[in-house]
């Protein structure tokens, strides 16, 4: 029986990370997850919009919650930043009924929608471990990811109440998933630290140092590959890794892929992409 979710692709899947969309569908089918697109859902705000107007981001996300509730589904997203921001705003609304009422009044006037707060937000990682089960995942593996893999969580889903049954400070869900897929996980300190994505444009020198430290730590722990549970952070860890290395003098060249990519590869789809990844790891590097 399929596990059904309202699907929020995050902030970059529609634009600079088409690989997220390419891999989410096949992996969901393989694991018996039914994804119902939230076609009207907006960006979660990524913590940026609330810097201008907190109520604005809350209301936009409340509209997303209302749409999911109308479908009677919980929200699933492959992006840790989106999961974290949606969870934070949902928690804020649920903890303040007056605020919820005011936001609902705005929603009613502008969209004809209201929310109750009963919806839940799941990151793909937590849905797999808590809802699908590692046993089932292991059974479905067709191409074991036989690399040494560093799992990156980021700080957004490692909040109280936002990380499923995992530990906030010392998580191991990603390591369990890596093991289930045939990989060898490494434990590294930077896996829950921020790489500063919200400050990328304005505080680039700091962000490059943050990213370089995370990348070089993963390498020094013996990782051949980083898998990121955060699609936003992936952009910095991947696209900016060369610049980060040059600016800091640290060794940063290492392949970085999305969690959904790793899952799809292991479950037997996109074999040519997995072959390319193997080649990068074995021969090319980053």
């Amino acid at each position: 029986m399929a596990t059904k979710f309202a699907y929020h692709p995050g902030n970059v899947a529609h634009s600079s990370a088409p690989e997220v969309g390419d891999t989410m569908g096949p992996l969901a089918r393989a694991l018996g997850i039914e994804l119902v697109p939230l076609a009207g859902a907006t960006s979660c705000g990524a913590g940026i919009v609330r810097q201008a107007n907190r109520r604005l981001q809350l209301t936009l996300n409340a509209r997303t919650f209302a749409m999911a509730e109308a479908q009677g589904l919980d929200i699933l997203t492959p992006c840790a930043a989106t999961a974290g921001n949606l969870h934070e705003d949902l928690q804020t609304l649920n903890s303040d009924q007056i605020l919820m009422q005011e936001v609902n009044e705005t929603l009613e006037r502008t969209c004809g929608l209201t929310m109750t707060g009963e919806v839940k937000v799941h990151h793909l990682l937590h849905a797999i471990v808590d809802e699908i089960g590692l046993d089932k995942l292991e059974d479905k593996v067709r191409n074991p990811i036989d690399f040494v893999v560093a799992g990156y969580y980021g700080p957004n889903i490692q909040q109280e109440g936002a990380c499923g049954g995992d530990d906030v400070y010392d998580p191991d869900y990603l390591e369990q998933v890596i093991s289930a897929l045939g990989g060898t996980p490494v434990r590294w300190e930077a896996r829950t630290q921020s790489v500063g994505v919200p400050g990328l444009f304005s505080e680039e020198p700091t962000v490059l140092k943050q990213a370089a430290e995370a990348l070089s730590e993963a390498k020094s722990e013996g990782a051949e590959l980083i898998v990121s549970a955060c699609n936003l952070s992936h952009a910095v860890l991947d696209v900016y890794q060369g610049k980060a290395g040059r600016n800091t003098g640290l060794a940063t060249n290492i392949p970085v892929i999305h969690l959904c990519e790793m899952l799809a590869f292991a479950l037997g789809t996109h074999n040519s992409r997995l072959a390319l990844l193997r080649t990068r790891i074995a021969v090319i590097g980053d």
Partner: protein, 659 residues
């Protein structure tokens, strides 16, 4: 009524009469008579005081013989249990045993004192709860462990008794339900002196003679010898041969045996405690037993206001890895201690013990439990080590609590876990943190004019600065270690509180605004999520810092890169419901920034993204009409709108007309 069980009272004169009548059921020993294990449901071999039921085939074959044996007993110690009631062979003498058996009658019909598997209190208190801990020791190590574990056994509802193997009656083992063996190895795989005789007896015992025994073995040895832990291995194998049931795998301990032995004891004690009074092992209850022993279910909870809550917990097997830095030798690394410590012990106490018993050179800031300067980092979590117990620090995985203790990030390390707070204090000093009060009216009181403040304002200001440790809050920002000059969340939270204090003068407010809006102010914080996730006050502080950021951006009119980033992000969101990275790059970085990305390789990595994702080189028609958009990982220039986009616009128009 049909027979369901038979047992032997005290007072057997070992006349052999019963065994002569029915040797299949009765076995007369030197001082009493036992009911044989082969005929009992629980497999035990003793007087069967627990009144374990007889196997149906035994009852079918020997019912009359059992009654004859009871009838023929000259001292009437053979008690026959019939149909749930105890009845002596001689009805007129049955009153006492019948009364005793009455309470056990409902369960006796099937399995006399077996405990319902889901009742932890009943399991840990009903019936026979004896545990025999046998030690074979040459130097005293095994004996010491046996004594320690016997003491711990009380936490598991067990009556632990330590037995020297020397002089121990091997035959008595057969009547025991729970046995733990702790045995060292001597010389080239030989038994310790005190175990040799018992071992010789054990090797001659009949197969199946320990069929009702549940056991586990802790073997001590030295890996530098060829026959490592051989004696323990021998006991383990022999018990299995004799029909005993192994509940927990044997542990083989090297010379540093404390940690592994303690970890074994946690499992072994819980497992044998899950054997009920009838000798039935309830595997499904082992975790509940562990939780009970750890104090999760025990003790008063204190909710009644009178009782004192029990906060003690069983020992946890801890692997504590501590960062070390020696400034004289300029060496860094980490030392790891594997030890068993009470779960309720604070981390600060654990550090003190390690320092006093293992390594006096270990350096950390000591002080009162809530001393803010003692803050350290454990598994990425920032804590005051005196305020948190070991078992609450991190999850226990595979029976081990693994802790990585580091100095606070973002500070210079003086030695080991000791950091220099001076950099934070210098930054605080740079913000002129002294209150410059405005002249204001106050309420006339007997003590003179006193200032007043709205309670809501006072509460809000207090909550912003109500963090347990300035250093801990400062370290919670992942930007602090990397942003040169950034004041940090601790300094900024204090400044923001002062800025919103109605007592601050206008000049002071203006001065603080200048500090907050500077390049080292709140805009230098790259991600508030890292602050929000740390400790209880993180949420309140991060929201206060968000307010400070919004204030600064509005004061700047959303100019500068930070302001533009926020502004254009919101603008693109209004335009389509989705963020448009291309607009952000163009509007925030400007031509110079874009050129920088071109020369630094960022743009090249975007365009060549297909070489890393394995996707198509052109993933969108935009590649044909507006390159380099549509190539590799280059973001789109134009987004399609989300469904019902007009609703998004309506929300923007209602809540913020600036965009």
């Amino acid at each position: 009524m049909a027979i369901v069980s038979v047992w032997i009272e005290e007072g057997c004169i070992t006349c052999d009469a019963c065994e002569e009548i029915l040797p299949e059921v009765f076995h007369v020993t030197d001082d009493t008579c036992f009911i044989k294990s082969e005929v009992r449901i629980d497999g035990g071999y003793d007087r069967n005081e627990a009144q374990a039921g007889l196997k149906p085939e035994t009852i079918a074959s020997f019912e009359d013989d059992i009654l004859d044996a009871a009838d023929g007993c000259p001292v009437d110690v053979i008690i026959v249990v019939e149909g749930g009631e105890a009845a002596a062979a001689e009805p007129e003498e049955a009153s006492a045993p019948a009364a005793e058996a009455e309470s056990a009658a409902p369960t006796a019909a099937a399995e006399p004192v077996e405990v319902a598997g889901d009742n932890i209190d009943e399991l840990l208190s009903a019936g026979d709860r004896d545990l025999a801990i046998l030690f074979g020791s040459q130097s005293g190590n095994s004996e010491g462990l046996a004594a320690k574990f016997a003491k711990q056994a009380a936490d598991y509802g067990l009556n632990g008794a330590v037995h020297d193997m020397d002089g121990f009656d091997f035959a008595s083992l057969s009547s025991m339900k729970r046995v733990l063996i702790i045995c060292s190895t001597w010389g080239e795989g030989e038994m310790p002196d005190n175990a040799e005789e018992l071992w010789q007896t054990a090797t001659k015992a009949a197969a199946g003679s320990l069929s009702g025994v549940h056991f586990s073995v802790c073997a001590l040895g030295d890996t530098s010898y060829e026959f490592f832990c051989e004696s323990g291995k021998d006991w383990d194998e022999q018990f299995e041969k004799l029909g005993a049931t192994r509940l927990v795998d044997r542990v083989d301990c090297d010379v540093d045996y404390d940690g592994p032995a303690a970890a074994w004891a946690l499992d072994a004690l819980a497992a044998v405690a899950a054997v009920d009074g009838a000798g039935v092992y309830h595997e499904e209850m082992v975790e509940a037993v562990k939780a009970h022993a750890a104090g999760d279910a025990g003790g008063a909870d204190g909710e009644d206001g009178f009782s004192v809550p029990d906060i003690t917990a069983a020992a946890v097997q801890a692997e504590i890895s501590i960062f070390r830095y020696d400034p004289e030798a300029a060496s860094t690394g980490s030392d790891t201690w594997v030890c068993a410590m009470p779960g309720h012990m604070s981390l600060l106490e654990a550090l003190r013990i390690i320092k006093s018993t293992h390594d006096g050179s270990l350096s950390f800031r000591d002080g009162a439990a809530d001393d803010p300067t003692t803050a350290i980092c454990v598994n990425g979590r920032l804590v005051l080590p005196g305020t948190i117990r070991l078992d609450a620090l991190a999850p226990t995985r595979d029976g081990v609590l693994s802790l990585r203790v580091d100095p606070l990030p973002g500070f210079e390390v003086i030695r080991d876990l000791v950091v220099d707070h001076w950099s934070m204090e210098r930054r605080r000093e740079s913000t002129n943190p002294w209150m410059v009060a405005a002249t204001r009216e106050g309420a006339a009181t007997m003590q003179g004019a006193m200032g007043t403040m709205d309670p809501n304002v006072a509460t809000a200001l207090h909550s912003i600065t109500d963090f347990s440790s300035a250093a801990l809050l400062q370290a919670s920002s992942d930007a602090v270690p990397h942003a040169n000059g950034y004041l940090g969340p601790s300094v900024i939270a204090s400044a923001w509180a002062r800025r919103n204090d109605p007592r601050s003068s206008q000049d002071s407010v203006a001065s603080i605004d200048a500090v907050l809006g500077s390049s080292n102010g709140i805009k230098a914080e790259t991600d508030l999520a890292s602050i929000r996730r740390q400790n209880g006050s993180g949420v309140v502080i991060s929201e206060a810092l968000l307010d400070a950021k919004t204030h600064v951006l509005e004061q700047d009119g959303f100019n500068g890169r930070h302001g533009k980033h926020v502004w254009w992000y919101a603008w693109t969101l209004k335009s389509s419901g989705k963020v448009n990275d291309t607009v952000l790059y163009r509007q925030v970085l400007g031509p110079i920034g874009l050129l920088g990305n071109l020369t630094s390789g960022v743009t090249a990595r975007m365009v060549a993204g297909f070489t890393r994702t394995g996707g198509d080189m052109f993933y969108d028609m935009l590649a044909m009409v507006a390159p380099p958009a549509g190539f590799g990982k280059m973001p789109r220039q134009f987004n399609s709108s989300v469904e019902n986009h007009h609703e998004v616009v309506a929300i923007f128009n209602e809540l913020d007309g600036r965009f």
